[in-house]
């Protein structure tokens, strides 16, 4: 029933996309038609911080079908955030480069943004209407200089085989979560939920309650400025989510100490621990999930006993979980590119439901479009009602405010502060 509902919802979302977004004069679903002579010889360099970008390399191959004489290369840049601005104006500048939402508003990246091509320029004919509007970032002047390629979210990986084996349903609200965890504990699972105890966005406390906090911020938009101003009085906005976190930590659903001991980093260790096969629910961000496919074969336990797993929103709320869609990575075009026309042509090719979907599917990340990846890893997110689905842009929070919240949950989750202390300390909570 739920599967059917999911399918219907997915279809509904697709239909809505077609009718409202891509359908209203949109050409994103239309086959790509090269603008230039297919024999054009050119080289493009895409620079980024990913050490490995196979999904983009797959797109290069697809692009070669239209421009067989093209040569595209992905270059990993060391100390990316510090050098990208310089790289864009040096003697060998990249043609396309990755950006992210955190760079917006950061003066350190002003030069970088100055080097960006305005992708919303109609003359470029880049139709990005298939991308969720809530994920489009603009400059103060309203120009679009970066287009999201991947998005991420915060939630949990669920070992479906365990739930099937124990005859349990994946919990959809906090009450169910506690109940399920009790049953799992009695079935022998010491810590039904696990995650990495880190300060970062991948940290398990962040994955559990940040979406809830963001939801509360959206519903208290009048407090956003105070929050961004790190006004201690705005700390009260954090209270519901901090209390839920405190409740969660004390519920027995998660053994924080065990997590700290067994999961030593915020990426590979999470995945490899999950693949041990004895963790029913692993709190993780989408960026972590994207690394699962490659590591399946690296895990002896998983190779010996593979199991089915999916990504769900963490059921922190009384009414259910929250799906917050955050930009993971964007692409911008260097306006100083020696092949600016072909760089824009590649972007024109890439920004479509098909190619973005392909990339996300390969990368195991959430595409910025309204259609979830064909990989059903994320299909459960389609079950979350619209009123609890939103993008982080809608919160209006600036990075400092977010970091204060992370500091708060890190302190409360680790019993370093009480909820009251954390609320009162907003703006001055020690960060990592």
């Amino acid at each position: 029933m739920k599967k059917t509902l999911s399918a219907i919802l997915s279809l509904s979302m697709t239909a809505a996309l077609l009718l409202q977004g891509c359908g209203s004069g949109k050409k994103a679903d239309a086959p790509f038609v090269p603008k230039y002579d297919k024999d054009t010889e050119f080289s493009l360099t895409v620079a980024g911080s990913y050490s490995n970008f196979e999904s983009l390399e797959a797109e290069f191959e697809r692009f070669y079908e239209y421009y067989p004489n093209a040569s595209l290369q992905y270059v990993t840049m060391d100390d990316y955030n510090n050098v990208i601005s310089s790289a864009l104006v040096n003697s060998e500048p990249p043609d396309i480069f990755t950006t992210n939402s955190a760079m917006i508003g950061d003066e350190a990246y002003n030069d970088m943004f100055d080097s960006c091509e305005v992708l919303s320029d109609p003359s470029l004919d880049i139709d990005y209407s298939c991308i969720k509007e809530s994920l489009i970032r603009t400059t103060d002047s309203g120009d679009v200089v970066m287009l999201p390629i991947f998005t991420t979210s915060y939630g949990m990986l669920v070992n479906m085989d365990i739930f099937e084996k124990e005859g349990l349903k994946v919990p959809t609200d906090y009450k169910e979560l506690v109940s399920v965890c009790e049953k799992l504990k009695s079935a022998g699972y010491e810590s039904p939920m696990m995650g990495t105890d880190r300060f970062s966005g991948t940290g398990m406390f962040n994955c559990f309650v940040y979406p809830m906090f963001a939801y509360d911020v959206i519903n208290n938009s009048d407090k956003v400025d105070s929050l961004n101003a790190l006004d201690p009085s705005a700390g009260e906005v954090m209270r519901p989510s901090l209390e839920r976190l405190d409740e969660f930590v004390n519920s027995g659903c998660v053994d924080v100490e065990k997590c700290r001991e067994e999961i030593t980093d915020e990426y590979e260790a999470i995945i490899m621990r999950f693949f041990e096969g004895d963790v029913p629910m692993m709190l993780a961000a989408g960026d972590v999930v994207s690394g699962t496919a490659k590591r399946e074969s690296k895990s002896d336990a998983f190779t010996a006993h593979p199991f089915k797993y999916r990504f769900f929103a963490a059921p922190a709320g009384d009414d259910g979980g929250y799906f917050i869609n955050s930009i993971s990575i964007c692409f911008s075009v260097n306006k100083n590119s020696r092949n600016i026309d072909m760089a824009n042509e590649f972007m024109r090719f890439l920004i479509s439901n098909k190619e973005l979907g392909n990339m996300a599917s390969l990368k195991r990340l959430i595409p910025p479009i309204d259609v979830f990846s064909e990989d059903d890893l994320y299909s459960a997110l389609a079950d979350i009602p619209d009123d609890r689905s939103f993008s982080d842009k809608e919160t209006g929070l600036m990075d400092p405010a977010v970091r204060q919240f992370r500091a708060a949950i890190f302190a409360v989750g680790n019993k370093e502060m009480t909820v009251d202390e954390a609320v009162a300390s907003y703006g001055s909570i020690p960060e990592e």
Binding site: E61, V75, V83, S91
Partner: protein, 861 residues
């Protein structure tokens, strides 16, 4: 050979040649491929050398900087970091190369750069805090390599992908006044290294070069190499088990060689790998699509394609030519068939045209023989019969051969009496043999089954042919016919006959044996020119035997004689043995009668139709003694008139008649219902003796057919078959006894063979008349011979001797006849001496015989 077989063979040969070409091309392509691989490996080595030189040069320049700085320190005037960088700014000659002097032990791995930050022209501070390129400095330094090089990384000052050569320097810390260790880096844009490899594009346009460390991490990243780690890339696109993967990575990381891998598109590529000469911790990878190395193979395939096309064109051309020739051959064959049919038609016509008058000749001659009492006339008539039969034999041989050649000769098996077969043979041959003074002996197995199943006519023809030949080619001595039988183990209902004819004739030379069975080939033609024959006899024999599953065997000694033999399997109908045939035959011979009608049928009516009145006369006379009521008709219409009016017991109807032929006449007769002859058998008279006649006549509605010239005995036998039994009165034996009554003293005369004389003359009456005539003319003839001899007239002497020969033979004085024949031959050859020497004896014996016959005088009156 069938066309499909020829095409198949052609295709096979073509396939074989193509296979050879393909194998050769593949071998060459493999060689080319191997050469390509070797060439590519050499290119990799060259690249390695170039890179090594380049790296050594760059390292050397870096070392010069470091040495200068370190020498200053050693000389007691150490440079500060700023001094050192200032020195490098002056020392370096290339704008794009930077010098970084950093302090790895400082918190931010910071230092000073020769160039300012792009983002801040006043900031020369460089930090490697977030760039992990120094993790393996210690291991690199301790490896003993001459080059100290970082992996490719992003120059933090300008964001350019670069590599850095480094060396350790000691500089003065202005704050503490102490020397501190720094790392001097010569930072070179990666593109500089790549430019050194531009030369490769000439020979290998799509070659890409990468440098990886032993873990597979890229130092220099080729554009087609995906992933951040070459081994990961290899694993992603190449299906390999864990062991194979480990083997491949170990090989690449530690060895030198070449392997085939798949790129991200699934295409086969050649990867050549070897450790960098100057930095053994790094591995040089050269990669090229396989198709770039084996491009030359396509040329071979092109040639192969052209060769294939050429062969196909040749095959098509040859097929067309062959088809044209075949069409011509087919036309020629058709013409030949038509010619053959024309020949058959000709033979048919010849058969008819010769046999029809022969019917009249031999039939009338038979009358003469029967009726004449004049010795000379009977002698002449006998010659006519011999010559006629010889001619008929020749015609029959030709017709038989023609039937065999046309494939129309059939073996028709039927039950037959073996004794009867022997009787016929002996009757036909013995007389001829004895005429030549030959002894004809029989060696017949008494256990031969009495009734067999086979083609009696053909068997008889075979044996007769052999026996006739034996008689022909034997001048003196004997001819022996042997027949023996033995049972067949696996065929209880059959018997194997071994039939052989041995003669004491002239024999056959070994070299002529092969010619024996060649049609129209006569052996020793020169010697045997006086012997009549077509050269077909043995050929026909062999063919008949072949059709019966046997073959003729010949053993011969030239001048001594021959033995012709064959085995013949026959089905047994009645196993009762024939007994002592030789004795039975001797008795039969002694009781041999001359012609006597087999029956009389005074109440039977026969109608005979022939457009030739002579033939009608012959026919009527042949049956005169049977007292049949014979009506004749000379045309179809006349026949039909008789057919309507009067009942006949048998009708003989000639086939070839003018206006309305026999078949048309028969058809009309069959359509007549108002006739007393509805059940009367109609027998076709025909001179056509070629193949297929029986079927043709029976299909046309005849009950049987009889070939012309008419064999009197066959005619009577046929009448006995078709006449109503109640109208047939068999011939009585008394008359025979009467006819056979000869004076007993004749049997005592040594010079006389009574049986032979009787056989020749027909009956006792005629024989006695012949003897009397011989006796009475002896004196006169003797005198005439002597007179001619006295006059030296050899010619007339010979003619007279010839007459004596014939007369003697006709009365059974065979030895005297043979003596005369020898002298006749001498006379023909002008051998006067022999005549003078032996003629007296001949005449003496002649007169002596005549005197011995004196008791006959007046006996026949």
């Amino acid at each position: 050979m069938k066309r499909s077989l020829i095409i198949t063979i052609n295709l096979l040969i073509m396939g074989f040649i193509l296979f050879i070409i393909t194998s050769y091309a593949n071998t060459k392509a493999d060689e080319s491929y191997e050469n390509g691989i070797i060439g590519f490996e050499k290119m990799t080595m060259t690249t390695n050398r170039i890179i090594a030189n380049y790296l050594e040069d760059e390292q050397h320049l870096c070392d010069i900087w470091a040495n200068y700085i370190n020498l200053s320190a050693k000389d007691g005037v150490p440079m500060t970091a700023e001094d050192a960088v200032s020195f490098i700014r002056k020392a370096k000659t290339t704008q794009e190369i930077d010098g970084h002097l950093i302090f790895p032990d400082s918190p931010d791995r910071s230092g000073v750069s020769t160039a300012a930050k792009v983002s801040d022209p006043d900031d020369y501070t460089v930090s490697y805090k977030n760039i992990d390129i120094f993790d393996n400095i210690e291991s690199v330094s301790s490896s003993g390599d001459t080059v100290n090089l970082t992996r490719a990384y992003t120059n933090p000052m300008n964001g350019v992908q670069s590599i850095a050569f480094y060396d350790h320097v000691s500089v003065l810390d202005p704050g503490s006044g102490q020397l501190e260790d720094g790392l001097l880096m010569r930072v070179v844009p990666l593109s500089s290294l790549e430019q050194k490899l531009v030369f490769l594009k000439g020979e290998y346009e799509n070659v890409e070069i990468s440098i990886v460390d032993r873990e597979g991490n890229y130092v220099v990243h080729g554009k087609s190499f995906k992933n951040s780690n070459f081994f990961e890339y290899y694993k992603s696109y190449n299906e390999a088990s864990a062991e194979e993967y480990e083997l491949a990575t170990d090989e690449i990381a530690g060895g030198t060689g070449t392997m085939t891998i798949k790129n991200s598109k699934g295409d086969d590529c050649i990867l050549s790998y070897m450790p960098l000469e100057t930095m053994t911790t790094w591995v040089l990878l050269a990669y090229i699509p396989l198709t770039d190395l084996v491009a030359s193979r396509s040329i071979d395939w092109l040639l192969l394609g052209i060769a294939t096309l050429g062969f196909l064109l040749l095959l098509i051309f040859n097929s067309i030519v062959m088809m044209t020739y075949n069409r011509k051959l087919s036309e020629a064959a058709q013409q030949a068939n038509q010619a053959n049919e024309a020949k058959s038609d000709f033979l048919s016509a010849m058969s008819h045209d010769i046999r029809t008058p022969m019917n009249a000749i031999l039939g009338l001659n038979e009358m003469v023989l029967r009726d004449s009492r004049d010795d000379n006339i009977r002698m002449y008539s006998e010659s006519i019969r011999t010559a006629g039969n010889t001619l008929l034999g020749i015609i029959n041989d030709i017709l038989d051969f023609s039937r065999i050649e046309a494939g129309k000769m059939e073996i028709i098996n039927a039950d037959y009496s073996f004794v009867s077969l022997l009787n016929d043979l002996v009757n036909m041959v013995q007389k001829k043999a004895e005429e030549k003074g030959l002894v004809f002996t029989l060696d017949i197995d008494r256990d031969i089954p009495g009734t067999l199943n086979g083609d009696e006519m053909r068997i008889k023809q075979i044996i007769l042919n052999i026996l006739s030949n034996a008689v022909k080619y034997t001048d003196s001595g004997s001819i022996t016919l042997s027949v023996h039988a033995h049972d067949l183990r696996d065929k209880p209902d059959s018997v194997m006959l071994r039939i052989s004819v041995a003669d004491t004739g002239i024999g056959i030379k070994p070299e002529d044996l092969d010619k024996l069975f060649v049609a129209f080939e006569r052996i020793d033609e020169k010697t045997n020119r006086n012997i009549e024959g077509t050269g077909l006899g043995m050929t026909i024999v062999q063919r008949f035997l072949g059709m019966m599953g046997s073959h003729l065997e010949v053993e011969s000694e030239y001048g001594r004689g021959s033995v012709f033999s064959f085995d013949l399997e026959q089905k047994v109908v009645n196993r009762d043995p024939i007994g002592d045939y030789e004795e039975a035959f001797r008795q039969l011979s002694s009781q041999r009668k001359n012609y006597h009608e087999k029956f009389t049928a005074p109440d039977a009516g026969v109608l005979v139709v022939d457009d030739n009145p002579v033939n009608l006369t012959v026919f009527v006379n042949l049956l005169r003694k049977t007292r049949l009521k014979i009506d004749t008709a000379e045309s179809g219409d006349e026949c039909i008139a008789h057919f309507r009016d009067r009942h006949y017991d048998v009708i003989f109807l000639d086939h070839m008649m003018p206006d309305k032929d026999g078949i048309e006449t028969l058809k009309e007769m069959k359509s007549i219902t108002d006739t007393p002859n509805k059940e009367t058998p109609v027998i076709c008279l025909t001179a056509n003796a070629i193949s297929g006649m029986r079927k043709m006549y029976t299909d046309a509605g005849f009950d049987d057919y009889l070939t012309k010239p008419i064999d009197p005995e066959q005619l009577e036998m046929m009448l006995l078959q078709y006449l109503p039994k109640d109208k047939v009165i068999p011939a009585s034996g008394e008359e025979d006894t009467e006819d056979n009554a000869l004076p007993s003293f004749l049997s005592d005369l040594k010079e006389l063979d009574v049986d032979a004389g009787l056989a020749y003359c027909g009956d006792a009456e005629d024989y006695l008349m012949a003897l009397e005539m011989y006796m009475e003319s002896a004196d006169k003839k003797s005198e005439e011979i002597e007179r001619y001899r006295a006059e030296g007239d050899i010619k007339n002497t010979t003619v007279m001797v010839h007459a004596l020969k014939s007369a003697s033979r006709s009365i059974g004085a065979l030895e005297l006849g043979e003596f005369a024949a020898r002298l006749e031959k001498a006379g023909d050859g002008g051998d006067k001496e022999t005549l003078d020497r032996e003629l007296g004896e001949l005449i003496s014996r002649y007169r002596q015989l005549a005197r011995a016959l004196e008791p006959l005088r007046g006996l026949t009156l």
